[in-house]
Symmetry: C2
Subunit: 305 residues, 2 copies
Protein backbone atom coordinates (compact mmCIF):
# COMPACT_ATOMS: atom_id res chain seq x y z
CA UNK A 1 0.00 0.00 0.00
CA UNK A 2 1.07 3.60 -0.48
CA UNK A 3 1.75 6.48 1.90
CA UNK A 4 0.19 9.93 1.76
CA UNK A 5 2.71 12.29 3.36
CA UNK A 6 2.56 15.99 4.10
CA UNK A 7 5.49 18.14 5.17
CA UNK A 8 7.95 20.79 4.09
CA UNK A 9 10.04 21.03 0.96
CA UNK A 10 12.74 23.64 1.44
CA UNK A 11 16.06 25.10 0.45
CA UNK A 12 18.53 24.37 3.23
CA UNK A 13 21.82 26.00 4.10
CA UNK A 14 23.82 23.78 6.42
CA UNK A 15 27.14 24.20 8.21
CA UNK A 16 28.79 21.39 10.12
CA UNK A 17 32.42 20.99 11.25
CA UNK A 18 32.86 18.86 8.12
CA UNK A 19 31.76 21.38 5.53
CA UNK A 20 28.87 23.49 4.34
CA UNK A 21 26.25 23.58 1.61
CA UNK A 22 24.01 26.40 0.40
CA UNK A 23 20.43 26.25 -0.83
CA UNK A 24 20.25 22.52 -1.36
CA UNK A 25 16.86 20.82 -1.59
CA UNK A 26 15.76 19.74 1.87
CA UNK A 27 12.75 19.91 4.17
CA UNK A 28 11.19 17.17 6.27
CA UNK A 29 9.04 15.80 3.45
CA UNK A 30 11.99 15.56 1.06
CA UNK A 31 13.92 13.33 3.44
CA UNK A 32 10.84 11.32 4.39
CA UNK A 33 9.92 10.74 0.73
CA UNK A 34 13.39 9.73 -0.47
CA UNK A 35 13.67 7.30 2.43
CA UNK A 36 10.16 5.78 2.26
CA UNK A 37 10.23 5.44 -1.54
CA UNK A 38 12.72 2.57 -1.20
CA UNK A 39 9.85 0.56 0.29
CA UNK A 40 6.59 1.86 -1.15
CA UNK A 41 4.93 4.60 -3.20
CA UNK A 42 4.80 8.01 -1.50
CA UNK A 43 2.22 10.65 -2.48
CA UNK A 44 3.50 14.09 -1.53
CA UNK A 45 1.48 17.03 -0.21
CA UNK A 46 3.56 20.20 -0.03
CA UNK A 47 4.10 23.65 -1.46
CA UNK A 48 7.06 25.10 -3.34
CA UNK A 49 7.72 28.55 -4.82
CA UNK A 50 8.59 29.90 -8.24
CA UNK A 51 12.27 29.24 -7.57
CA UNK A 52 11.62 25.50 -7.39
CA UNK A 53 11.70 24.15 -10.92
CA UNK A 54 12.43 21.00 -12.86
CA UNK A 55 16.07 21.06 -11.79
CA UNK A 56 14.98 20.70 -8.15
CA UNK A 57 12.13 18.29 -8.87
CA UNK A 58 14.44 15.83 -10.57
CA UNK A 59 15.59 14.78 -7.09
CA UNK A 60 12.20 13.08 -6.80
CA UNK A 61 11.83 11.85 -10.40
CA UNK A 62 12.47 8.23 -11.30
CA UNK A 63 11.54 7.19 -7.78
CA UNK A 64 8.36 5.79 -6.32
CA UNK A 65 7.13 9.32 -5.57
CA UNK A 66 3.88 10.98 -6.69
CA UNK A 67 4.29 14.77 -7.06
CA UNK A 68 0.68 15.54 -8.01
CA UNK A 69 -0.03 17.03 -4.60
CA UNK A 70 2.93 19.43 -4.65
CA UNK A 71 1.46 22.91 -5.16
CA UNK A 72 3.43 25.63 -6.95
CA UNK A 73 2.70 29.01 -5.37
CA UNK A 74 3.77 32.55 -6.21
CA UNK A 75 6.75 33.59 -4.15
CA UNK A 76 9.85 31.91 -2.80
CA UNK A 77 10.26 28.41 -1.40
CA UNK A 78 10.68 27.89 2.36
CA UNK A 79 14.30 28.43 3.39
CA UNK A 80 16.12 27.21 6.45
CA UNK A 81 19.70 27.57 7.64
CA UNK A 82 21.38 25.77 10.52
CA UNK A 83 24.80 25.25 12.03
CA UNK A 84 25.96 22.24 14.06
CA UNK A 85 28.46 22.19 16.91
CA UNK A 86 31.60 20.07 16.83
CA UNK A 87 29.86 16.93 18.07
CA UNK A 88 26.81 17.32 15.75
CA UNK A 89 24.55 16.86 18.78
CA UNK A 90 23.43 20.47 19.08
CA UNK A 91 22.44 22.86 16.36
CA UNK A 92 21.61 26.52 16.06
CA UNK A 93 19.02 27.75 13.59
CA UNK A 94 20.62 30.53 11.59
CA UNK A 95 17.46 31.64 9.78
CA UNK A 96 13.95 30.47 8.90
CA UNK A 97 12.10 32.08 5.98
CA UNK A 98 8.64 30.56 5.71
CA UNK A 99 7.87 32.24 2.36
CA UNK A 100 5.19 30.24 0.48
CA UNK A 101 4.86 27.89 3.45
CA UNK A 102 3.26 30.72 5.45
CA UNK A 103 0.05 30.67 3.42
CA UNK A 104 0.07 26.91 2.83
CA UNK A 105 -3.39 25.35 2.76
CA UNK A 106 -2.95 21.68 1.86
CA UNK A 107 -5.37 20.58 -0.85
CA UNK A 108 -5.45 16.93 -1.74
CA UNK A 109 -5.86 15.75 -5.33
CA UNK A 110 -8.83 13.44 -5.81
CA UNK A 111 -6.52 10.45 -6.26
CA UNK A 112 -5.04 11.04 -2.79
CA UNK A 113 -8.30 10.77 -0.84
CA UNK A 114 -8.17 7.05 -0.25
CA UNK A 115 -4.94 6.47 1.68
CA UNK A 116 -3.78 3.37 3.45
CA UNK A 117 -1.18 5.13 5.52
CA UNK A 118 -1.06 8.88 6.23
CA UNK A 119 2.05 10.57 7.60
CA UNK A 120 1.70 14.06 9.01
CA UNK A 121 5.11 15.72 8.98
CA UNK A 122 6.13 18.24 11.60
CA UNK A 123 4.03 21.40 11.03
CA UNK A 124 1.23 23.46 12.60
CA UNK A 125 -1.34 21.02 14.05
CA UNK A 126 -4.15 22.80 12.18
CA UNK A 127 -2.47 21.97 8.87
CA UNK A 128 -2.10 18.37 10.01
CA UNK A 129 -5.81 18.33 10.89
CA UNK A 130 -6.73 19.80 7.53
CA UNK A 131 -4.95 16.97 5.71
CA UNK A 132 -6.65 14.33 7.85
CA UNK A 133 -10.05 15.95 7.18
CA UNK A 134 -9.56 15.47 3.46
CA UNK A 135 -8.82 11.75 3.59
CA UNK A 136 -11.98 9.64 3.33
CA UNK A 137 -10.43 6.37 4.31
CA UNK A 138 -7.20 5.59 6.15
CA UNK A 139 -5.80 2.57 7.92
CA UNK A 140 -2.89 3.97 9.87
CA UNK A 141 -1.97 7.56 10.71
CA UNK A 142 1.48 8.59 11.85
CA UNK A 143 2.69 12.02 12.87
CA UNK A 144 5.73 14.04 13.83
CA UNK A 145 5.80 17.26 15.87
CA UNK A 146 8.23 19.48 17.73
CA UNK A 147 8.66 21.68 20.80
CA UNK A 148 7.35 24.76 19.02
CA UNK A 149 3.87 23.19 18.69
CA UNK A 150 4.00 21.54 22.10
CA UNK A 151 4.55 24.98 23.62
CA UNK A 152 2.52 27.30 21.39
CA UNK A 153 -0.46 25.22 20.20
CA UNK A 154 -1.07 22.59 22.91
CA UNK A 155 -4.83 22.40 22.35
CA UNK A 156 -4.60 22.00 18.58
CA UNK A 157 -1.82 19.45 19.02
CA UNK A 158 -3.96 17.39 21.41
CA UNK A 159 -6.76 17.36 18.86
CA UNK A 160 -4.44 15.86 16.26
CA UNK A 161 -3.00 13.39 18.78
CA UNK A 162 -6.52 12.14 19.38
CA UNK A 163 -6.74 11.13 15.73
CA UNK A 164 -3.41 9.38 15.11
CA UNK A 165 -2.07 5.87 15.73
CA UNK A 166 1.68 6.41 15.92
CA UNK A 167 3.65 9.46 17.09
CA UNK A 168 7.32 9.77 16.22
CA UNK A 169 9.19 12.45 18.15
CA UNK A 170 12.53 13.01 19.88
CA UNK A 171 12.77 11.57 23.37
CA UNK A 172 13.20 15.07 24.80
CA UNK A 173 10.04 16.18 23.00
CA UNK A 174 8.19 13.13 24.29
CA UNK A 175 9.18 14.16 27.81
CA UNK A 176 8.04 17.74 27.20
CA UNK A 177 4.77 16.65 25.63
CA UNK A 178 3.98 14.33 28.54
CA UNK A 179 5.35 16.65 31.20
CA UNK A 180 7.24 13.80 32.83
CA UNK A 181 10.90 12.86 32.53
CA UNK A 182 10.80 9.07 32.80
CA UNK A 183 10.40 7.78 29.24
CA UNK A 184 8.14 4.83 30.11
CA UNK A 185 5.83 7.12 32.04
CA UNK A 186 5.98 9.70 29.24
CA UNK A 187 5.02 7.02 26.72
CA UNK A 188 2.07 5.93 28.85
CA UNK A 189 0.91 9.55 29.19
CA UNK A 190 1.13 10.11 25.42
CA UNK A 191 -0.71 6.86 24.75
CA UNK A 192 -3.41 8.25 27.06
CA UNK A 193 -3.88 11.15 24.64
CA UNK A 194 -4.88 8.87 21.79
CA UNK A 195 -1.96 7.31 19.88
CA UNK A 196 -1.53 3.60 20.39
CA UNK A 197 2.20 3.84 19.85
CA UNK A 198 5.11 6.17 20.49
CA UNK A 199 8.45 6.13 18.73
CA UNK A 200 10.98 8.13 20.74
CA UNK A 201 14.08 8.80 18.65
CA UNK A 202 17.35 9.38 20.52
CA UNK A 203 19.81 10.51 17.85
CA UNK A 204 23.02 8.49 17.97
CA UNK A 205 21.57 6.40 20.82
CA UNK A 206 18.90 4.74 18.66
CA UNK A 207 15.15 4.78 19.12
CA UNK A 208 12.48 3.15 21.24
CA UNK A 209 9.03 1.92 20.31
CA UNK A 210 6.28 1.78 22.93
CA UNK A 211 3.16 -0.20 22.00
CA UNK A 212 0.28 -1.28 24.26
CA UNK A 213 1.92 -4.73 24.42
CA UNK A 214 5.64 -4.12 24.63
CA UNK A 215 8.74 -2.01 24.27
CA UNK A 216 11.40 -2.37 21.59
CA UNK A 217 14.83 -0.75 21.63
CA UNK A 218 16.44 -0.20 18.22
CA UNK A 219 20.16 0.59 18.21
CA UNK A 220 21.73 3.31 16.12
CA UNK A 221 24.35 2.10 13.67
CA UNK A 222 27.73 3.27 15.00
CA UNK A 223 29.01 5.34 12.09
CA UNK A 224 32.67 6.00 11.60
CA UNK A 225 32.00 9.14 9.60
CA UNK A 226 29.18 11.44 10.51
CA UNK A 227 28.88 14.57 8.42
CA UNK A 228 25.42 16.10 8.67
CA UNK A 229 22.50 14.93 10.82
CA UNK A 230 19.94 17.11 9.00
CA UNK A 231 16.94 15.00 8.05
CA UNK A 232 18.01 11.89 9.97
CA UNK A 233 14.78 11.82 12.00
CA UNK A 234 12.71 12.24 8.83
CA UNK A 235 14.65 9.43 7.15
CA UNK A 236 13.98 7.27 10.21
CA UNK A 237 10.26 8.00 9.83
CA UNK A 238 10.46 7.26 6.10
CA UNK A 239 12.10 3.89 6.69
CA UNK A 240 9.70 2.99 9.48
CA UNK A 241 6.45 3.97 7.77
CA UNK A 242 7.70 2.90 4.35
CA UNK A 243 8.42 -0.61 5.57
CA UNK A 244 5.14 -0.69 7.50
CA UNK A 245 3.13 0.39 4.46
CA UNK A 246 4.34 -2.53 2.38
CA UNK A 247 3.91 -5.12 5.16
CA UNK A 248 0.85 -7.32 4.97
CA UNK A 249 0.03 -7.17 8.65
CA UNK A 250 1.10 -4.84 11.43
CA UNK A 251 2.21 -6.97 14.34
CA UNK A 252 5.08 -6.96 16.80
CA UNK A 253 7.50 -8.57 14.31
CA UNK A 254 6.64 -6.08 11.56
CA UNK A 255 6.92 -3.11 13.89
CA UNK A 256 10.33 -4.24 15.12
CA UNK A 257 11.64 -4.68 11.61
CA UNK A 258 10.19 -1.29 10.69
CA UNK A 259 12.13 0.26 13.59
CA UNK A 260 15.34 -1.31 12.30
CA UNK A 261 14.73 -0.03 8.77
CA UNK A 262 14.08 3.37 10.33
CA UNK A 263 17.42 3.24 12.08
CA UNK A 264 19.13 2.04 8.89
CA UNK A 265 17.74 4.93 6.82
CA UNK A 266 18.56 7.50 9.50
CA UNK A 267 22.15 6.27 9.63
CA UNK A 268 22.69 6.59 5.88
CA UNK A 269 21.32 10.13 5.96
CA UNK A 270 24.02 11.28 8.39
CA UNK A 271 26.87 9.96 6.25
CA UNK A 272 26.82 12.88 3.83
CA UNK A 273 25.40 16.38 3.46
CA UNK A 274 21.71 16.87 2.82
CA UNK A 275 20.14 14.15 0.70
CA UNK A 276 23.40 13.22 -1.04
CA UNK A 277 23.88 9.79 0.51
CA UNK A 278 20.25 8.84 -0.13
CA UNK A 279 20.46 9.74 -3.80
CA UNK A 280 22.87 6.99 -4.73
CA UNK A 281 21.69 4.48 -2.13
CA UNK A 282 20.70 0.94 -3.15
CA UNK A 283 18.36 -1.62 -1.59
CA UNK A 284 21.38 -3.92 -1.27
CA UNK A 285 23.15 -1.40 0.94
CA UNK A 286 19.99 -1.01 3.02
CA UNK A 287 19.70 -4.76 3.54
CA UNK A 288 23.39 -5.06 4.38
CA UNK A 289 23.06 -2.47 7.09
CA UNK A 290 19.93 -4.17 8.43
CA UNK A 291 22.04 -7.30 8.88
CA UNK A 292 24.79 -5.24 10.51
CA UNK A 293 22.28 -3.99 13.09
CA UNK A 294 21.24 -7.57 13.74
CA UNK A 295 24.88 -8.49 14.30
CA UNK A 296 25.34 -5.44 16.55
CA UNK A 297 22.60 -6.44 18.99
CA UNK A 298 22.40 -10.23 18.83
CA UNK A 299 23.06 -12.28 21.93
CA UNK A 300 22.26 -15.76 23.13
CA UNK A 301 19.19 -16.68 25.12
CA UNK A 302 19.73 -17.62 28.69
CA UNK A 303 20.15 -21.35 29.08
CA UNK A 304 17.89 -22.53 31.86
CA UNK A 305 19.22 -25.42 33.82
Amino acid sequence: MSILAVGSIAFDTIKTPFGEVDDIVGGSLTYFALSASFFTEVKLVAVVGEDFGEQQLKLFRGRNIDLQGVAHADGKTFRWGGEYSHNLNSRETLFTELNVFEGFQPELPESYRQADLVFLGNMHPLLQQSVLDQVNHKRVVGMDSMNLWIETTPTELRNVLGRVDIVKIDDSEARDLAGVYNLRKAAAAIQGLGPRMLIATRGSHGAMLFTPQDIFSAPAFPLEDERDPTGAGDCFAGGFFGYLAQAETIDSDTLRRAMIFGSVMGSFCVEDFGTKRLEGLTMDEINTRYRALKQLTQFEDLVTA
Copy 2:
Protein backbone atom coordinates in the same frame (compact mmCIF):
# COMPACT_ATOMS: atom_id res chain seq x y z
CA MET B 1 37.58 -18.44 38.57
CA SER B 2 37.66 -15.55 41.03
CA ILE B 3 38.17 -11.82 40.66
CA LEU B 4 40.69 -9.69 42.47
CA ALA B 5 39.24 -6.19 42.66
CA VAL B 6 40.62 -2.95 44.05
CA GLY B 7 38.64 0.24 44.61
CA SER B 8 37.05 2.48 47.19
CA ILE B 9 34.85 1.64 50.14
CA ALA B 10 33.16 4.77 51.42
CA PHE B 11 30.40 6.42 53.37
CA ASP B 12 28.09 8.15 50.88
CA THR B 13 25.58 10.92 51.37
CA ILE B 14 23.21 11.08 48.42
CA LYS B 15 20.40 13.43 47.48
CA THR B 16 18.12 12.80 44.51
CA PRO B 17 14.67 14.24 43.72
CA PHE B 18 13.29 11.02 45.22
CA GLY B 19 14.88 11.22 48.65
CA GLU B 20 18.17 11.33 50.47
CA VAL B 21 20.40 9.10 52.55
CA ASP B 22 23.29 9.92 54.89
CA ASP B 23 26.51 8.00 55.50
CA ILE B 24 25.45 4.74 53.86
CA VAL B 25 28.10 2.24 52.82
CA GLY B 26 29.12 2.95 49.23
CA GLY B 27 32.25 3.39 47.10
CA SER B 28 33.05 1.88 43.73
CA LEU B 29 34.35 -1.41 45.11
CA THR B 30 31.28 -1.95 47.28
CA TYR B 31 28.98 -1.80 44.27
CA PHE B 32 31.35 -3.82 42.09
CA ALA B 33 31.68 -6.54 44.73
CA LEU B 34 27.98 -6.89 45.54
CA SER B 35 27.21 -7.11 41.82
CA ALA B 36 30.03 -9.49 40.80
CA SER B 37 29.48 -11.79 43.79
CA PHE B 38 26.27 -13.07 42.19
CA PHE B 39 28.49 -14.72 39.58
CA THR B 40 31.83 -15.53 41.17
CA GLU B 41 34.07 -15.03 44.18
CA VAL B 42 35.43 -11.49 44.62
CA LYS B 43 38.60 -10.80 46.61
CA LEU B 44 38.58 -7.17 47.80
CA VAL B 45 41.54 -4.81 48.09
CA ALA B 46 40.60 -1.59 49.86
CA VAL B 47 41.07 0.50 52.99
CA VAL B 48 38.55 1.54 55.63
CA GLY B 49 38.85 3.63 58.81
CA GLU B 50 38.14 3.09 62.48
CA ASP B 51 34.52 4.10 61.93
CA PHE B 52 34.00 1.07 59.69
CA GLY B 53 33.16 -1.88 61.90
CA GLU B 54 31.28 -5.14 61.88
CA GLN B 55 27.96 -3.35 61.37
CA GLN B 56 29.22 -2.01 58.05
CA LEU B 57 31.07 -5.17 57.07
CA LYS B 58 27.96 -7.28 57.38
CA LEU B 59 26.87 -5.85 54.03
CA PHE B 60 29.57 -8.09 52.54
CA ARG B 61 29.16 -11.10 54.83
CA GLY B 62 27.33 -14.19 53.66
CA ARG B 63 28.21 -13.40 50.08
CA ASN B 64 30.91 -14.69 47.78
CA ILE B 65 33.27 -11.94 48.96
CA ASP B 66 36.75 -12.28 50.47
CA LEU B 67 37.52 -9.40 52.86
CA GLN B 68 41.08 -10.47 53.71
CA GLY B 69 42.56 -7.66 51.61
CA VAL B 70 40.52 -4.89 53.25
CA ALA B 71 42.95 -2.93 55.41
CA HIS B 72 41.78 -1.17 58.58
CA ALA B 73 43.68 2.08 59.02
CA ASP B 74 43.72 4.72 61.74
CA GLY B 75 41.41 7.57 60.88
CA LYS B 76 38.09 8.00 59.14
CA THR B 77 36.75 6.16 56.13
CA PHE B 78 36.55 7.92 52.75
CA ARG B 79 33.39 10.07 52.56
CA TRP B 80 31.56 11.35 49.52
CA GLY B 81 28.42 13.40 49.06
CA GLY B 82 26.55 14.10 45.84
CA GLU B 83 23.29 15.59 44.63
CA TYR B 84 21.45 14.71 41.41
CA SER B 85 19.36 17.01 39.25
CA HIS B 86 15.70 16.30 38.49
CA ASN B 87 16.47 13.98 35.56
CA LEU B 88 19.24 12.06 37.40
CA ASN B 89 21.51 12.63 34.41
CA SER B 90 23.75 15.23 36.01
CA ARG B 91 25.18 15.31 39.49
CA GLU B 92 27.10 17.73 41.64
CA THR B 93 29.70 16.54 44.12
CA LEU B 94 28.88 18.14 47.46
CA PHE B 95 32.03 17.01 49.26
CA THR B 96 34.90 14.53 49.03
CA GLU B 97 36.87 13.62 52.15
CA LEU B 98 39.64 11.19 51.21
CA ASN B 99 40.57 10.44 54.84
CA VAL B 100 42.29 7.02 55.08
CA PHE B 101 42.14 6.69 51.28
CA GLU B 102 44.73 9.46 50.98
CA GLY B 103 47.54 7.31 52.34
CA PHE B 104 46.27 4.07 50.79
CA GLN B 105 49.04 1.73 49.68
CA PRO B 106 47.40 -1.47 48.48
CA GLU B 107 49.07 -4.57 49.90
CA LEU B 108 47.91 -7.93 48.63
CA PRO B 109 47.57 -10.91 50.97
CA GLU B 110 49.60 -13.90 49.82
CA SER B 111 46.43 -15.76 48.79
CA TYR B 112 45.56 -12.94 46.36
CA ARG B 113 48.73 -13.12 44.28
CA GLN B 114 47.49 -15.67 41.80
CA ALA B 115 44.45 -14.05 40.17
CA ASP B 116 42.54 -15.13 37.12
CA LEU B 117 40.84 -11.81 36.64
CA VAL B 118 41.97 -8.48 38.05
CA PHE B 119 39.70 -5.44 38.12
CA LEU B 120 41.28 -2.06 38.80
CA GLY B 121 38.58 0.29 40.05
CA ASN B 122 38.66 4.00 39.37
CA MET B 123 41.59 5.48 41.35
CA HIS B 124 45.03 7.06 40.87
CA PRO B 125 46.82 5.14 38.09
CA LEU B 126 49.86 4.62 40.33
CA LEU B 127 47.69 2.71 42.82
CA GLN B 128 46.32 0.63 39.96
CA GLN B 129 49.89 -0.09 38.84
CA SER B 130 50.91 -1.06 42.35
CA VAL B 131 48.17 -3.71 42.50
CA LEU B 132 49.13 -5.12 39.11
CA ASP B 133 52.77 -5.29 40.21
CA GLN B 134 51.81 -7.54 43.13
CA VAL B 135 49.96 -10.13 41.06
CA ASN B 136 52.23 -12.91 39.84
CA HIS B 137 49.82 -14.43 37.41
CA LYS B 138 46.72 -13.03 35.76
CA ARG B 139 44.59 -13.99 32.79
CA VAL B 140 42.48 -10.90 32.18
CA VAL B 141 42.85 -7.36 33.52
CA GLY B 142 40.03 -4.84 33.44
CA MET B 143 40.05 -1.25 34.57
CA ASP B 144 37.93 1.81 35.16
CA SER B 145 39.07 5.44 35.21
CA MET B 146 37.65 8.96 35.09
CA ASN B 147 38.24 12.47 33.77
CA LEU B 148 40.30 13.48 36.80
CA TRP B 149 43.04 10.97 35.90
CA ILE B 150 42.72 11.58 32.15
CA GLU B 151 43.44 15.26 32.81
CA THR B 152 45.88 15.22 35.72
CA THR B 153 47.90 12.01 35.33
CA PRO B 154 47.89 11.25 31.57
CA THR B 155 51.33 9.60 31.56
CA GLU B 156 50.62 7.32 34.53
CA LEU B 157 47.25 6.45 33.04
CA ARG B 158 48.86 5.46 29.74
CA ASN B 159 51.24 3.18 31.56
CA VAL B 160 48.32 1.33 33.14
CA LEU B 161 46.42 1.23 29.85
CA GLY B 162 49.41 -0.54 28.31
CA ARG B 163 48.94 -3.39 30.81
CA VAL B 164 45.19 -4.03 30.70
CA ASP B 165 42.88 -5.98 28.40
CA ILE B 166 39.52 -4.28 28.90
CA VAL B 167 38.75 -0.66 29.76
CA LYS B 168 35.30 0.27 31.03
CA ILE B 169 34.57 4.00 31.05
CA ASP B 170 31.75 6.44 30.24
CA ASP B 171 31.40 7.27 26.55
CA SER B 172 32.24 10.92 27.30
CA GLU B 173 35.40 9.80 29.11
CA ALA B 174 36.31 7.55 26.19
CA ARG B 175 36.04 10.57 23.91
CA ASP B 176 38.19 12.67 26.25
CA LEU B 177 40.77 9.94 26.65
CA ALA B 178 41.07 9.46 22.89
CA GLY B 179 40.76 13.14 22.06
CA VAL B 180 38.24 12.39 19.33
CA TYR B 181 34.45 12.68 19.45
CA ASN B 182 33.37 9.83 17.16
CA LEU B 183 33.00 6.77 19.38
CA ARG B 184 34.28 4.24 16.84
CA LYS B 185 37.36 6.34 16.24
CA ALA B 186 37.77 6.87 19.99
CA ALA B 187 37.59 3.11 20.55
CA ALA B 188 40.23 2.49 17.89
CA ALA B 189 42.50 5.12 19.46
CA ILE B 190 42.13 3.59 22.93
CA GLN B 191 42.77 0.11 21.54
CA GLY B 192 45.95 1.58 20.09
CA LEU B 193 47.10 2.38 23.65
CA GLY B 194 47.05 -1.27 24.70
CA PRO B 195 43.62 -2.58 25.74
CA ARG B 196 42.09 -5.06 23.34
CA MET B 197 38.59 -3.99 24.28
CA LEU B 198 36.66 -0.90 25.28
CA ILE B 199 33.32 -0.84 27.07
CA ALA B 200 31.76 2.60 26.72
CA THR B 201 28.83 2.98 29.13
CA ARG B 202 26.12 5.48 28.21
CA GLY B 203 23.88 5.69 31.28
CA SER B 204 20.24 5.20 30.39
CA HIS B 205 21.22 4.66 26.75
CA GLY B 206 23.00 1.37 27.40
CA ALA B 207 26.61 0.45 26.66
CA MET B 208 28.83 -0.51 23.75
CA LEU B 209 31.58 -3.07 23.53
CA PHE B 210 34.39 -2.63 21.02
CA THR B 211 36.60 -5.67 20.39
CA PRO B 212 39.20 -6.20 17.65
CA GLN B 213 36.57 -8.26 15.79
CA ASP B 214 33.28 -6.52 16.30
CA ILE B 215 30.99 -4.08 18.06
CA PHE B 216 28.12 -4.97 20.37
CA SER B 217 25.41 -2.60 21.54
CA ALA B 218 23.73 -3.52 24.85
CA PRO B 219 20.48 -1.74 25.66
CA ALA B 220 19.64 -0.24 29.03
CA PHE B 221 16.56 -1.67 30.67
CA PRO B 222 13.87 1.02 30.51
CA LEU B 223 13.04 1.47 34.18
CA GLU B 224 9.73 2.89 35.30
CA ASP B 225 11.16 4.01 38.62
CA GLU B 226 14.65 5.39 38.84
CA ARG B 227 15.72 6.61 42.23
CA ASP B 228 19.49 6.84 42.54
CA PRO B 229 22.09 6.18 39.83
CA THR B 230 25.02 6.08 42.27
CA GLY B 231 27.09 2.96 41.62
CA ALA B 232 25.28 1.93 38.43
CA GLY B 233 28.49 1.95 36.38
CA ASP B 234 30.29 -0.09 39.06
CA CYS B 235 27.42 -2.59 39.13
CA PHE B 236 27.66 -2.81 35.34
CA ALA B 237 31.36 -3.62 35.68
CA GLY B 238 30.58 -6.16 38.42
CA GLY B 239 28.01 -7.95 36.25
CA PHE B 240 30.27 -7.89 33.22
CA PHE B 241 33.48 -9.09 34.85
CA GLY B 242 31.62 -11.38 37.25
CA TYR B 243 29.95 -13.23 34.40
CA LEU B 244 33.20 -13.28 32.43
CA ALA B 245 35.15 -14.72 35.35
CA GLN B 246 32.88 -17.75 35.62
CA ALA B 247 32.74 -18.39 31.86
CA GLU B 248 34.90 -21.17 30.53
CA THR B 249 36.09 -19.31 27.45
CA ILE B 250 36.09 -15.66 26.51
CA ASP B 251 34.63 -15.41 23.03
CA SER B 252 32.17 -13.15 21.26
CA ASP B 253 29.13 -14.98 22.70
CA THR B 254 30.47 -14.81 26.25
CA LEU B 255 31.39 -11.14 25.96
CA ARG B 256 27.92 -10.27 24.65
CA ARG B 257 26.20 -12.11 27.47
CA ALA B 258 28.54 -10.43 29.94
CA MET B 259 27.49 -7.04 28.55
CA ILE B 260 23.84 -7.93 29.07
CA PHE B 261 24.48 -9.05 32.65
CA GLY B 262 26.34 -5.75 33.13
CA SER B 263 23.30 -3.84 31.93
CA VAL B 264 21.00 -5.97 34.11
CA MET B 265 23.03 -5.29 37.27
CA GLY B 266 23.32 -1.57 36.50
CA SER B 267 19.56 -1.31 36.07
CA PHE B 268 18.80 -2.93 39.43
CA CYS B 269 21.23 -0.58 41.16
CA VAL B 270 19.27 2.49 40.01
CA GLU B 271 15.96 1.21 41.37
CA ASP B 272 16.71 2.16 44.95
CA PHE B 273 19.11 4.22 47.04
CA GLY B 274 22.68 3.08 47.49
CA THR B 275 23.12 -0.68 47.60
CA LYS B 276 19.57 -1.30 48.89
CA ARG B 277 18.18 -2.99 45.78
CA LEU B 278 21.26 -5.22 45.45
CA GLU B 279 21.01 -6.45 49.02
CA GLY B 280 17.76 -8.35 48.55
CA LEU B 281 18.33 -9.25 44.89
CA THR B 282 18.04 -12.87 43.72
CA MET B 283 19.56 -14.74 40.80
CA ASP B 284 16.02 -15.41 39.57
CA GLU B 285 15.36 -11.69 39.27
CA ILE B 286 18.68 -11.26 37.44
CA ASN B 287 17.80 -13.99 34.94
CA THR B 288 14.29 -12.60 34.43
CA ARG B 289 15.69 -9.20 33.55
CA TYR B 290 18.24 -10.81 31.21
CA ARG B 291 15.30 -12.32 29.32
CA ALA B 292 13.51 -8.97 29.35
CA LEU B 293 16.52 -7.39 27.65
CA LYS B 294 16.42 -10.15 25.05
CA GLN B 295 12.75 -9.41 24.43
CA LEU B 296 13.51 -5.68 24.26
CA THR B 297 16.01 -6.01 21.42
CA GLN B 298 14.99 -9.11 19.51
CA PHE B 299 14.01 -8.81 15.84
CA GLU B 300 13.77 -11.13 12.88
CA ASP B 301 16.56 -11.74 10.43
CA LEU B 302 16.11 -10.34 6.98
CA VAL B 303 14.57 -12.93 4.69
CA THR B 304 16.59 -13.04 1.51
CA ALA B 305 14.58 -13.79 -1.62
